[in-house]
Amino acid sequence: MTRDSRPWLVRAFLLVLLVAAAVAFPKVFTNPAVTNYGVLALIFVTVASAWNIFSGNSGYISLGHAVFFGSGAYAMGIAARDWNVQGTTVFALLPLAAVVGAVIAVVFGLIALRVRRHTFIVITIAVFFIFQLAAFNLRSLTGGSAGLNSPFLNWPSSGYNTPFYYIALAFAGATIAIAVAVRRSRFGLQLRAIRDDEDRARGLGVRAMRVKLTAFVLSGAITAMIGSIWFYYINQVEPQTGFDPLFDLLVVLMAFLGGYGSITGPVLGALIIEPGTLWLNTQPQFSGGYLSEILLGAVFLVIVLFVPRGIVPTGGEWITRLRTRGRPAVVPVAAGAATAGSAGGAAAASAASPAGATADAPPASRASKGGAR
């Protein structure tokens, strides 16, 4: 038992440390250029985690989450302009962003979630372009290519970033908590079953459409809310920034870099990539934009081709391999041991099965059906 409780304690301690560090960050680094990195990184932690709640668990990769992000921003901008909302009361409009995101997700999902996975990706791209086009063309609503400005917040300019930092931190924390809750719930299990074999899951009573749609709506609502926060923070939204194809790719890249489907993966990915790209854009040799684009594409290629499961699971595997080297692998008993990685699991299986009473034909025998008689 002590074997189990110790890692738990270590983990709790690390978590407290992390939260403390996150809270203390703007107190230590008061330079707005630095806190700016913090705010945007946390916004992307939220987006990547929200994306992962749907895509990471269900295996339906969305390349259209900018639809929610941009719609959240525009919904706020339009509401604040038309209802003449001023000052900090604008934050009372946040639930509206969530509703807008959820409604879009329902309609979008009812169409896009009917098709096979790879067609889904393509549909998300198509829907994304419809939204960008609408933002350009519905001039009376969206302000056309000039975009919208956010209501003025008369916060002191010296510590302007700090409240945004804590708001973004709260969102990031809440989203991670939701991701953990989903992961542990029956709902999350159903989503992961859909990822592995959707038809089979349906045959075991999983209402696949309902489960997928719920996750999509949850993910979309969160993304829309953080989109509206981003809008207040940046002070404006334009069609090409609110509905940015690079945004979609960045979010997917964050999740893949860290570890697609895991909780910590997208968080880590966002914390690496967002400050990274922000820093690159401040460097004079990258100012044209195209070099950072090439670099982004190259990083993406390297990740997908060489560490497709992300640095968190792959790293975890290495650690497990190092730990179990030289002694028999321990069969993980806890149901939540999925993150233990398949390397340890496969080793344990091969160690266990020859001795077992149920030792039987290897998988290769599938091909010779008649042979077993």
Partner: protein, 246 residues
């Protein structure tokens, strides 16, 4: 005895091929029924139609007093009809125990009870030691056992097995047959598609022979064994030589 599962005049065509042509079968409650026939006679297609994986062009499926024709797979399962697949389909990136819990979702019991029941069933089929492993790391035979076990979690009244003995070794075949008999004695009804004649003849009380998408004859094993039409259509060829793979 009453028929718990019955199909009437099921027709299904793929392009120009008539996979099912008026297939009618009937399974009595509490029995182990067999469904045999040459390759391409429509056995798996009939399973797919019954369980909602394929739509029937014509005909009806009756189950426990309801008409479930073309109901979605999740509805069919919720009604109490579970199935396995010829090539086993498990969830490779979930643990063995998690695989069991996917099907447990219609139960409103405590989490603990569901888990306990899942573990009991894993023990019943003899793979409880692997509960914490990823299902993708199981051997083929273990996957077959897992598939049988997770179908049982939700306690379906009728279980459709598609080639439970296909591609597994004789020891395991006996284990599977034992488990089917034991479940049957507890009141579960089975409908089994199988190429292994010994397995079917030894296990089933009624056997239906399907040929070109229609049921040609139905009766107890002794009768099927001696029926001339069956010998001509299927058994004769099969007993003399290996049938080609599907």
């Amino acid at each position: 005895m009453t028929a718990v599962l019955r199909t009437e005049g099921i027709k299904k065509a793929y392009g120009g091929v008539q996979a099912l042509n008026g297939a009618g079968i009937s399974v009595d409650e509490g029995t182990i029924a067999g469904l045999i026939g040459p390759n391409g006679s429509g056995k798996t297609t009939l399973f797919n139609v019954i369980t909602g994986y394929d739509r029937a062009d014509e005909g009806q499926v009756h189950f426990a007093g309801q008409v479930i024709t073309n109901a979605a797979p999740d509805k069919v399962f919720a009604a109490g009809l579970g199935r396995t697949f010829q090539l086993t389909r498990i969830f490779p990136r979930l643990t063995v125990l998690e695989n069991m819990l996917v099907a447990a979702q219609h139960k409103r019991q405590q989490r603990h009870t569901v888990r306990q029941r899942a573990m009991d069933l894993l023990e019943f089929v003899g793979i409880d030691r692997h509960a914490g492993l990823l299902a993708g790391s199981l051997s083929y035979g273990q996957r077959k056992l897992l598939e049988l076990a997770y179908v049982l979690v939700a306690d379906p009244a009728v279980i459709l097995l598609d080639e439970p003995a296909g591609g597994v070794n004789p020891t395991l075949i006996n284990l599977i047959a034992d488990r089917i008999r034991e479940l049957n004695s507890q009141g579960k009804t089975f409908l089994i598609v199988e190429h292994n004649m010994e397995f079917v003849m030894g296990l089933c009380s009624t056997i239906t022979v399907l040929e070109s998408g229609a049921a040609v004859v139905s009766g107890p094993p002794e009768m099927i064994r001696s029926d001339k039409r069956v010998l001509d259509a299927y058994l004769g060829a099969d007993l003399e030589e290996e049938e080609p793979d599907e």
